[in-house]
């Protein structure tokens, strides 16, 4: 054990070596994987028909330029992005409904329902061609969630939502 500690000490004081949170997936808890020596939610995509996107918080904006009216309701996979915690933490939830509802006047609104423990839906409309996107995100067991919306090309976080 003493030799081990010496080895660890020597390695960590070397400029080229830095302590790491994880080096293997098994260093992280269940459901996590080691990505760039940090534990992150393991993306699980069981439906090959989904887009499989793992968006950053700034890439959840839906931009429509013209009048669009579509109503779509599918059962597919929903990608939830944590906008208040670790940016690398991405979790994919499957089997929940994602609906996309667009009203007249060039407004596109997407509301995502994520999981049975959290449901946030924002119904809004505008006639200036802007795009509103609301999605709910939860952060593991911490119970906090954030609602990100974008309007006219801007993105802002509207604060934590309840579970």
């Amino acid at each position: 054990m003493r030799t081990s500690m010496i080895l660890v000490l020597v390695a960590t004081v070397l400029p080229a070596c830095r302590p790491a949170t994880c080096l293997r997936d098994s260093d992280c808890g269940p459901g996590y994987q080691c990505v760039a020596v940090e534990c992150a939610f393991a993306p699980v995509d069981t439906d090959m028909t989904t887009t499989g996107a793992t968006d950053d918080a700034t890439s959840t904006t839906t931009d429509t330029t013209g009048p669009t009216q579509t109503t779509t309701s599918t059962t597919t996979s929903t990608t939830m992005t944590d906008t208040s915690g670790d940016p690398s933490a991405v979790r994919t939830d499957t089997g929940h409904e994602t609906s996309s509802d667009a009203t007249s006047g060039g407004t596109t609104e997407t509301s995502g329902t994520s999981g049975s423990e959290d449901s946030t839906t924002e119904d809004g409309s505008s006639s200036d061609g802007s795009s509103d996107v609301s999605g709910s995100s939860d952060i593991g067991a911490s119970g906090s969630a954030s609602d990100a919306s974008s309007d006219a090309g801007t993105s802002e976080s509207t604060g934590p939502a309840t579970l």
Partner: protein, 170 residues
């Protein structure tokens, strides 16, 4: 697997024609526990972390006419923060000695559940006989894992470990 096959071949007298098939192999059993340091690279930097504690159980087999060579199939358990099970065929090339023996070793660690890891191991060891049938042993190994579901994407893992234990000869 190559090591296991090779070791079996040697012990059966297939590699060296002058070595007759053994009438009675020298068999020992060892239990060791160890830890060490793990190294991995990411983003052009090298990161270090203490290796999870592991247990090794092995059976050492020596042909009486090839006392310098030992084949030791080993089962490995990683028990700290996880439970991983692996198999590790191991060969030891031993220097002659009575009470103290020193050896070099090569092994092929293969973890198969609940994650997979495949690598190659080399190192050295020493044993000190306390009794005709009982000895304490220490080994210092370096292992490179190059494939497996437990590795980071596109990464590899290097372990520098030491393990201590006891050996019972039969």
């Amino acid at each position: 697997m190559i090591g296991a096959w090779h070791g079996t071949w040697i012990l059966c007298g297939g590699l060296i024609g002058s070595v007759a098939p053994a009438e009675k192999l020298q068999v020992s059993a060892s239990v060791l526990a160890g830890t060490g340091m793990s190294l991995a690279g990411s983003g052009g930097k090298t990161y270090a972390r203490r290796s999870p504690t592991f247990l090794l159980g092995e059976v050492g087999i020596v042909h009486p006419d090839l006392d310098w060579l030992e084949f030791a199939p080993t089962i490995s358990f990683e028990i700290e923060g996880r439970v991983g099970i692996g198999l590790m065929p191991k060969l030891r090339a031993r220097l002659p000695g009575k009470r103290v023996r020193i050896w070099a070793l090569a092994a092929l660690p293969i973890f198969f559940t609940p994650y997979s890891l495949l690598g190659i191991q080399g190192g050295a060891g020493i044993s000190l006989a306390l009794h005709k049938r009982l000895a304490i042993i220490a080994e210092f190994t370096g292992t490179g894992f190059v494939w497996g579901s437990d590795l980071m994407d596109g990464g590899s893992l290097v372990k520098l470990d030491q393990q201590f234990g006891v050996r019972v000869s039969f």
